[in-house]
């Protein structure tokens, strides 16, 4: 059954919960309510995903009378194969983030309020089919993240929060210009109509520049070298929950935008500049991995590894126009999903370990395996998935990208494959140095995961292994969405 208004519910459930938390609740009550709200949200997003997968519902909602006709912004929500899995991912990581902040004692209710607002905004980004509404949610997500980093962060948190915000807002500034130019040319903000209307419309700037403007916003978010410098700072200094959301879903907004807008609306441009994407992708992968090896802070290490992993998304996109573009793009989309769960788990585990050891400096750690078996298992599973071990979700997405991108850019794909080797190196080395080795006396008293902490770890491990074994659960949906998009653009 197609439940009407379910997308609005998915967006406004977290928003309204956030308001309730802010106004009525404090302390543990706020926490409990946030857990219930995010559990409901997981059910709602799960339903959206499954109903779309099984029955192909798109759950369209449209209110056209929101703005005057001369400025036809609509409240237009819809789901397709590209967005459905990402909505599920947001629901999943939303509840994980709530559990990750279980032990927050400072300004508890504010923390949960911002997390819920953040989740609602991200769902809004993935469901909006009106360009301005999309942009509205895109901007809306900034403020919660700014507060999460700058209040509950560590180290140079205020600097990092501001850097995150300025980078993102600069990127989105160009995107706004792009959106307005598209509107001036086509007279519509409806994303489903723009790809048809764009080729025949009279644009006031060269379409190549327009493509660049749009892509910059997404490139900052993904992030693409050389616009990535905000990411290590933001990740390192963010609290655990914010890191999980940042790596898990916020980066995916960039990838989603590249797929939906850069590839979906400007297929010719993307094809023309595919080599740039391939080049940047390779730089991201190799440069990111090379820097990662040198890191001694666990969070910073994972942050740089995200730069490397997002390079694969770029590589997948660069196959645009080729015979294997479906495959490569499905791989790129899948990579976003799997990276969300894997990196989410890594940040989560690191956050929990840090709560106990009070250090993330790798040389100070070591020999934790015996004291923390659960965390060690989750760390190892996430690490192995991150380096693409067969049987985990990381393997599926990377191999799909390689298969898809190889016919288009042989050399780039070969070089990128070496990135996997580097990944193996830094992941294994990191696990070895931090978890194994001789036990240290100063960690003699620390304990393992509590029952509450096992819940989010379990959720993410199940999804990592589950997709590793049965990738079609998600990839079918992506394939359908990407095929539909490519057919519409007439690229294939």
């Amino acid at each position: 059954m197609e439940i009407p208004g379910i997308l609005s519910i998915a967006i406004f459930l977290p928003f309204i919960s956030a308001v309730i938390v802010a106004v009525f609740l404090t302390g543990k009550a706020a926490r409990g309510f946030a857990v219930i709200a995010s559990a409901l949200e997981l059910i709602v997003t799960g339903y959206i995903f499954v109903a779309h997968r099984q029955n192909g519902y798109d759950f369209s909602e449209r209110i056209t009378s929101w703005f005057p006709d001369s400025f036809p912004v609509q409240y237009f929500l819809s789901v397709d194969g590209i967005s459905a899995p990402l909505i599920l991912l947001t629901g999943l990581l939303g509840i994980v983030a709530i559990f990750a902040s279980w032990n927050i004692t400072e300004r508890t209710k504010e923390h949960f309020m911002w997390l819920l607002l953040l989740q609602g905004a991200v769902i809004g980004v993935f469901t909006s089919m009106d360009f301005l509404l999309f942009f509205l949610f895109w901007e809306l997500e900034l403020i919660p993240m700014f507060f999460l980093i700058s209040i509950w962060g560590t180290g140079r948190k205020e600097y990092s929060a501001m850097k995150f915000l300025i980078f993102t807002i600069l990127g989105s500034a160009f995107m706004l210009i792009g959106i307005l130019v598209i509107f001036a040319g086509t007279g519509t903000f409806d994303m489903t109509k723009i790809s048809e209307a764009l080729p025949s419309s009279n644009l006031i700037m060269p379409v190549g520049i327009l493509f660049l403007f749009m892509s910059i916003g997404f490139a900052v978010k993904l992030p693409v070298f050389p616009l990535h410098t905000w990411l290590p700072d933001a990740h390192t200094d963010a609290p655990t929950a914010a890191s999980v959301m940042l790596a898990g879903v916020l980066l995916k907004m960039g990838g989603y935008g590249l797929l939906r807008v850069s590839a979906g609306m400007f297929p010719d441009q993307l094809e023309k500049y595919a080599w740039v994407l391939a080049l940047l992708g390779v730089i991201n992968i190799i440069y990111g991995a090379a820097i990662t090896i040198r890191q001694t802070d666990l969070k910073r290490l994972i942050a740089y590894s995200s730069v490397s992993h997002m390079g694969f998304v770029l590589l997948g996109l660069s196959a645009m126009g080729g015979v294997t573009s479906h495959l490569a793009m499905t791989g790129a989309a899948l990579q976003m999903f799997t990276h969300g769960t894997i990196t989410g788990l890594l940040f989560l585990t690191i956050g929990f370990i840090y709560e106990r050891t009070h250090t993330r400096h790798i040389p100070d750690l070591g020999g934790l395996a015996r004291r923390m078996p659960v965390f060690t298992v989750s760390f190892v599973v996430a690490g192995l998935a991150s380096l693409g071990l067969p049987g985990t979700s990381g393997f599926v997405s990377e191999i799909t990208i390689f298969l898809g991108a190889f016919p288009a850019f042989k050399l780039a794909t070969i070089i990128a494959a070496f990135g996997v080797v580097l990944t193996a190196a830094y992941i294994l080395w990191m696990i070895q140095r931090s978890m194994f080795g001789p036990e240290k006396e100063r960690f003699a008293q620390i304990g393992d995961a509590t029952a509450v902490q096992v819940i989010p770890i379990g959720l993410l491990i199940v999804s990592i292994i589950g997709i590793g074994i049965y990738p079609a659960f998600v990839s079918d949906v992506f394939t359908e969405g990407i095929t539909e998009m490519l057919n519409m653009t007439g690229a294939n």
Binding site: F67, A161, I166, L176, L180, A184
Partner: protein, 489 residues
């Protein structure tokens, strides 16, 4: 003058009467607490008259005053701003002791001038209204008996006189060229002249007068390079008055610029010239305002520079007025939407500043440290206001910026839109610094902040408008569109 004429300016008359009544009540009553509620209730009278005359827009006083949707839009904004300023002055004004009556009546008189200004369609009337606006404001700026405030008042007075002189010179040139002072007739004469004569040199005179007039009004709206007065005056003036200056006087200034540009200089041969001038001034205003604001530690001074930048954003709409063949309307509509939104947003900010400085006795950004712990309501209101000034949803600031920058893109001014969005990014830095101070920095011990009812309700009303119209901007956009449609005739 006849009965119809009186009805036409009934809002202004009632406003002036209200001002006089406040003085009289002040004279005979020792209870100064009455004054603010009385002024607020009294404001309903001009508001009612505005709504009354809405249905029959017409020209009066031998064609010098015009009541139409355009002037009414601004009158609503001015009355709203006046009301909010009076509401947030309720406790602040207590420090003026015996002079509270003068304080309120000067605000009302200045508002009278602004209301007259937005409906004036004749050069001399415009000039008189302008002076009526400026003189009470100068007195208000100097209202606190200390050096800074006196400096603020005298600076405002002198520069105001100077800019009026420049403006008058521009008007004289126009009169010399056309032989009339009525805007509509001036427009016709210029149009006839430009269509019959091949003489380009005559355009030079017209263009020169446009430049002089722009300079005169540039002062009002504190656009670069006529912005020098703003920081000192804003810093020295009583805080609610600073809010009043930044909002109402700017709205009136833009109203009359729009009126003159549309009525007189809409001709294509001229418009392309002044449009590019506006574009350049706009880009400079926002860049200068934002860059200098970054360094400010006094919050009023910071908001003064922010006002300069905001004037730059609004001027994007002026630049976007002139297209290749016809005048575009989305630019001016954007201006009106932006001004209405800015009124809500900025007055919320100034109400919070008033409330905080009442208890901390300090205007520095640092006095906001830890405000979230001391007064969560004020902190949240200030945060939303700052977010709206940056242009982040869900606020009217976001909607208005989209509308204005969209107009720029529509008229091939993409470069200006790019400058404007980059400026928004720069501005995010200093606006968010305030937010950061409120949420993260630890508060001074022993400093309590208890916002009083009046100022708190002003802040709440203003911020409610900011958020409500951020979600549902349609009513404002439609009002603004009707308003603009009446002046393009």
């Amino acid at each position: 003058m006849n009965y119809a004429d009186i009805i036409l300016i009934a809002p202004e008359i009632s406003m002036a009467l209200l001002a006089s009544m406040i003085i009289i009540v002040d004279l005979f009553s020792s209870n100064k607490k009455l004054l603010a509620p009385l002024s607020l209730i009294g404001l309903l009278v001009p508001l009612c008259f505005c709504i009354m005359v809405r249905d029959n827009p017409s020209l009066g006083f031998k064609g010098t005053v015009k009541v139409d949707d355009f002037s009414l839009f601004f009158k609503y904004v001015i009355i709203l701003a006046t009301g909010l300023v009076i509401l947030s002055s309720t406790t602040y004004a207590k420090r003026f002791d015996k002079h509270q009556g003068e304080y309120y009546s000067l605000i009302l008189l200045s508002a009278t001038g602004m209301m007259l200004l937005v409906s004036a369609v004749e050069l001399i009337t415009i000039y008189i209204a302008l002076e009526l606006t400026a003189l009470p404001t100068a007195a208000l700026a100097a209202f606190i008996r200390e050096k800074k405030s006196a400096e603020s008042g005298i600076k405002f007075l002198i520069l105001s006189a100077l800019s009026s002189a420049v403006l008058l010179y521009g008007m004289v040139l126009i009169y010399g060229f056309t032989g009339t002072t009525h805007l509509s007739e001036i427009g016709t004469v210029i149009a006839n002249h430009l269509s019959t004569s091949e003489q380009i040199t005559d355009n030079g005179i017209l263009l020169f007068s446009v430049i002089l007039i722009t300079a005169g009004f540039g002062f009002k709206i504190s656009a670069v390079p006529f912005q020098m007065w703003a920081p000192d005056v804003y810093e020295g003036a009583p805080t609610p008055i600073t809010g009043f200056l930044s909002v109402a006087s700017k709205a009136a200034g833009f109203a009359i610029i729009l009126r003159i540009l549309y009525a007189v200089f809409e001709n294509e041969a001229l418009s392309s010239d002044w449009a590019s001038m506006m574009a350049v001034l706009s880009a400079i205003s926002m860049s200068v305002g934002n860059l200098i604001a970054i360094k400010q530690n006094n919050i009023k001074r910071m908001l003064a520079y922010s006002t300069i930048a905001q004037a730059g954003y609004i001027m994007v709409g002026l630049a976007a007025m002139a297209g290749n063949t016809t005048l575009y309307t989305s630019g001016p509509v954007g201006i009106l939407v932006y001004l209405a939104g800015y009124t809500f947003t900025n007055l919320a900010a100034f109400a919070v500043i008033t409330a905080v400085s009442e208890d901390s006795g300090d205007d520095s950004v640092d006095s906001f440290a830890g405000l979230i712990k001391k007064s969560p309501t004020l902190a949240v209101i200030m945060t939303i206001s700052m977010i709206s000034l940056i242009g982040i949803p869900p606020t009217i600031g976001f909607m208005a910026k989209i509308y204005l920058f969209g107009a720029a893109v529509e008229t091939n001014l993409t470069w200006l839109a790019v400058v404007a969005v980059i400026n928004s990014v720069v501005s995010a830095y200093y606006y968010l610094r305030v937010v950061k101070t409120m949420f993260i920095d630890s508060p001074d011990e022993g400093q309590e902040i208890h916002p009083k009812f009046g100022v708190l309700s002003a802040a709440v009303i203003a911020i409610s408008g900011t958020v409500f119209f951020g979600f549902f901007p349609k009513p404002i956009i439609e009002l603004a569109r009707d308003a603009i449609n009446t002046i393009i005739g």
